[in-house]
Amino acid sequence: MVKLPLIARLGLASFLSLVFTACRPPAAASSSTVPARRPVVCTTSYPLFYFAQRLAGDRATVRFPAPANEDPAFWRPSRDIVRQYQRADLILLNGADFEKWVNTTSLPLAPQVDTAAGFKQDWLMFPEVITHSHGPHGAHSHGAIDFNTWLDPLLALRQADAVADALRRLLPGAGAELEQRRQQLRRDLLALDQELRGLSTRLASQPLLASHPVYGYLAHRYGWNLASVHWEPDEPVTDAQWVAFDALRARHSGTLMLWEEQPLPAVGAGLRARHVLPVVFWTCGNRPVHGDYLQAMEQNLDTLRAALASAAAANPAFRGGPEGTEKTGK
């Protein structure tokens, strides 16, 4: 076997290495050609889901995992759904003590956005909640916070702005598109506010009734003269409750009673016997059967307008102002 001189061997080795390098298969496609995963946004209420979808469009996957037949305010997610929230890139919380399950659940802090934190000074309390305390000087629970902030379009707008800000941080390349969508949503919510103001002038200071104290933000914003009881739409009203109701009406003679859902026929009959018209004003906590949040609120307003007209026709004592006049509200 011929033994090559050292320099010849080095030269041959260099040449061969160049040849093998040139014959290397092409590099795999760079990561920039592979589409990035769409960020996942999880919300704890339907209105936030609606806002996030309108604002993010197809830039993010928005989820609202609560089942349609559950009240999200009192819902407890399963283990698998908690893991969904834990893995989300953004967790949108209503705040104002809405999602109580969060207090006993482990969630990462960084993705969380409390959409009601920016207007804590505007939070309302549920009236007539029984608290508890431990010992004469021990720890005590505070009155429950009214979490139905999204019913007030101007507070809903602030929540939508919080969602927009969070999405802007999550989707840094979609700033212009987000702003355009935010302005559109803003116009829709302001329009809703105007409609409610106009409707409220028709209500004037007429006393209104409610089956549950969930309309506080509407009453506060638009100056509704509202009194509430604690009746469930799927439960009958007891005699004692009727007595209490009559006593209430003695000092608060409302003829329209807002309900989150249709009451039982017997309850409806009892109300009509007392010249009280039940009016379904859906609170939008969960997904509507038809349409979306704004459409549901429009439906609420239409229902209330019709009820007002019906009440005026049926009860000459009912007085209301013309719609459209600016009403002194908050």
Binding site: V82, T104, A110, E128, P136
Partner: protein
């Protein structure tokens, strides 16, 4: 050279006891500073690595050493507690995402670290077994804790009472082990991790009990009842274990913004944000201090290793004395071997052979000593790292 090595090997092998003594002496002289410096270097590197992996630490005003040791190594107590409101305020600056820590309690003498899931992502702590934290009352064990206590997913772990004589103080809570972290050779191996809210539960800021506001409440637990409030007495039993059945009953008392936190790990968005954040808190009336852990640990190590210099000097003196003794032994050994070396000369050995022979023998001894010393040092480092 091969012949010299052969002769040297034969000589050393024949005088095995003397060779062993020389090797032992040399090895010990080499081992001590090697082992100590190696341990110190490893410990220093470990401390600095932990500190270097943490961009910032925030806490109450006071000793910066205490704060950093507490936040990074879960040791000692902080000079002053913070509140969750401080965590939110830091977050509101927009410069960093805060990871709150509350390290106050222990479970079977292991530090109980209350934090959020963000901590595990930040420290890149994978699970070896089980699942991450799910809810109040869950815990995830560091690898060493799990091995020492022989616990795994599904087991229960009781927290330690702060003061066994204070019956009205925080009471032990039975935690559900959800997972075990993979070993990371960091202080995380020796900790028990819970959700921050669980530490507040242990502290008594939250509890679970049966409903006292309902009409069916046992009258024996009601101290007073008005139209708007029910006052429960001490007979009301509070749950010491969170289960699926009683989870919904757990609630907090007080403003969450006032709930305690012992330290915060601010994770800045970038270098500029870190600088701006630190500048934001460098005001005279600040109640929160923000530190760069690496600088604090380097300062602390500098103080500690100033003392180490005395030990180094002592080791150098001892080493010099040992070397002098060993040299004396070698010289005496050469004197004893003069007849042998003279024989080689008379026989006509090559020039320098006797010098080379002695040199090879000494080199062989030195090499074996070095290998022994290095092996012993490696074993020492490995044993200490296990311990």
């Amino acid at each position: 050279m091969r012949q010299v090595v052969f002769l040297a090997w034969q000589s050393l092998r024949f005088h095995r006891l003397q060779s062993a003594i020389l090797i032992f002496g040399l090895a010990v002289t080499l081992y001590l500073p090697l082992a100590v410096n190696g341990l110190v270097a490893r410990y220093q590197a470990s401390l600095l690595q932990r500190a270097g992996a943490t961009p910032l630490v925030a806490g109450g005003l006071g000793s910066r050493f205490d704060l950093v040791l507490h936040a990074l190594y879960f040791r000692g107590h902080v000079p002053r507690l913070l509140k969750m409101a401080d965590v939110q305020a830091l977050r509101d600056t927009g410069y960093a995402e805060p990871i709150p820590l509350y390290v106050r309690f222990t479970a079977r003498h292991a530090p109980l670290v209350g934090t959020t899931l963000d901590y595990f992502a930040f420290r890149q702590l994978p699970l070896a077994r089980g699942e991450p934290l799910l809810q109040l009352g869950d815990c995830v064990l560091g690898a060493e804790v799990a091995a020492t206590l022989n616990l795994g997913p599904g087991d229960r772990l009781l927290t330690d009472p702060e003061n066994v004589f204070d019956l009205a103080g925080s009471y032990p809570v039975s935690l559900r082990v959800m997972g075990v972290l993979a070993p990371g050779h960091t202080p995380d191996d020796r900790a028990v991790f819970v959700d921050l809210k669980t530490t507040w539960l242990i502290e008594g800021l939250a509890h679970g009990h049966s409903d006292v506001t309902g009409t069916n409440t046992d009258a024996n637990v009601v101290l007073d009842r008005t139209a708007t409030n029910v006052t429960a007495n001490a007979a009301l039993v509070e749950f010491t274990e969170v289960t699926a059945e009683n989870l919904a009953s757990f609630h907090f008392h007080g403003d969450p913004g006032d709930f305690p936190v012992s330290a915060i790990l601010p994770i800045p968005r970038d270098e500029k944000s870190a600088t701006l954040l630190r500048g934001r808190y460098q005001v005279p009336d600040a109640t929160v201090q923000i530190l760069v852990p690496r600088g604090v640990v380097e300062e602390l190590l500098g103080l500690v290793f100033r003392i180490k210099r005395f030990f180094d000097a002592n080791a150098a003196l001892v080493g010099t004395a040992t070397a002098a003794f060993l040299l004396l032994v070698v010289l005496l050994s050469l004197r004893l071997r003069r007849p042998e070396l003279e024989t080689l000369f008379r026989l006509g050995c090559a020039r320098g052979l006797t010098t080379r022979l002695v040199a090879v023998e000494l080199t062989g001894l030195a090499l074996v000593s070095a290998v022994v010393a290095l092996t012993a040092a490696q074993i020492t480092w490995a044993l200490v790292s296990l311990w």
